[in-house]
Assembly symmetry: C2
Homo-oligomer: 297 residues x 2
Amino acid sequence: MTTPRVGFLGLGEAGAAIAAGFAAAGASVRAYDLALQDPDRADAVTARADAAGVELADGTAELLSDRDLVCSLVTSDVAVRVAQDAAPHLGAGQVYADLNSTEPAQMERVAELLGPSGAEFVDGALMAGVPGPGHRVPVLMSGPGAERAASWWAQLGGEVDVLSDVVGAASVVKLARSLVVKGLESLFWESAIVAERYGEAERVLASLGTTLPGEQWNEFAGYLMGRTVRHGERRAHELDGVARMLEAAGLDPHMARATGARLRTVVAGLGPDATPASLPADPAGLARAADDDAPAT
Amino acid sequence: MTTPRVGFLGLGEAGAAIAAGFAAAGASVRAYDLALQDPDRADAVTARADAAGVELADGTAELLSDRDLVCSLVTSDVAVRVAQDAAPHLGAGQVYADLNSTEPAQMERVAELLGPSGAEFVDGALMAGVPGPGHRVPVLMSGPGAERAASWWAQLGGEVDVLSDVVGAASVVKLARSLVVKGLESLFWESAIVAERYGEAERVLASLGTTLPGEQWNEFAGYLMGRTVRHGERRAHELDGVARMLEAAGLDPHMARATGARLRTVVAGLGPDATPASLPADPAGLARAADDDAPAT
């Protein structure tokens, strides 16, 4: 089995970390990033490519001319545009994996755009943060090209779970899972805020340990609530995608919408001094700060 | 320490189970239930009292005339009315424990109604189903009479966690905890329903085990989702109380309202043949049945 030639559309933090792992495993890795056209950002991309041991292409056409596997890792708002630009330069025998964090409907749209090219499409979902594990990050893939992409991934030392040939399957698992985790985070907040009016936030979190499986619920709640402090706006934004996914499936996004709304009220109420370390030792302070009505103090 | 004389206002399933335990432990236990005035229901109450070894009083006044501890265990919609009827017959030295599943504001209202009587009030929360454990059910108490009620409870073989002398503390813990558990149940449903459109409901539930503490998440999700099937309407109704609690505290009940709404759509979509045993082996069937748009088939 020959080593695959891999191309990256987008060389941000995630793309660079995976590309570096593939390059270190002996693959030919080339990348192109739209930021190369921006004089203010081009240098940063070039530095990232150098650090990753990745060659840069002059444009999409050049990049795609000889790649076996193309990975799209851009920001979710430009994922469709990048696929549109790529489509004319792709052909049969190539595999195009969209690894962006988007909802199933957007994966289906990208698959449709690439259809005429003859390239096989992969709906891919990165299931954890990439910095750290790099190309060993857990990945789910579905769609017609998933098996081929997964075998190349394995050849380079990564591991992919292939779900089915249904485009949308990988991204629905990622977002549905995200709904539960972020929804739970919002439930902890809403419960803690109201319980703290009676001085009992910590007791609620502690008592959940007697009901839910596992034993570290107080800690886990603190961890999740700390995530709101650090990444609340981004997490709320991700829930907008989950809500769109439900709507596209003809379902009312009750929990998804409420989760996004709750995370946003918490973020709005948290002052810059609120840190995860203050949790759950001082839920009272955070509960006051997260009050829907009171502005942050 | 003399054995307390205990009175029960309300001798439904929960009241009878606790009363039976107290009677068996040697307490003098008497009860009165409004259903005794209804010819169609009086016989059932009498039979329940006989089975529990509990004497029946002729009315509220007689019941309360010599009781140390009075436990109100009626339906939540009549808890305030029952307290109103009791107030003129209570006096200093007596303890009145409202053990109904109501929100803190309602406990505060009952406390206010009983204030002039001189009886000490207890906000009590039963933290599990009573049939089975009986008077050994986990109980939280707060309010001025909590310590005395708890020591009587202990004398009779039960165990009470006393939180504080703040009326509302026990009920806020119960409802805030309930919000997390039922909210999680709704998150499982919403996630499973949308994921099953792509054939991946089980994978989402299974994959949560890699993130959440503990290891039996697939089973726990199945258990909670089964609760929706059996008790969804009652659970949604409880969430209405949670939402009122948040509103009374000046907070938007984002998650509480969404949880109630999601449970109701699931209940509406579940046919009479849906059983917990079909979970998670057949989430597809339940997901189809729980579709927001499609009526139950």
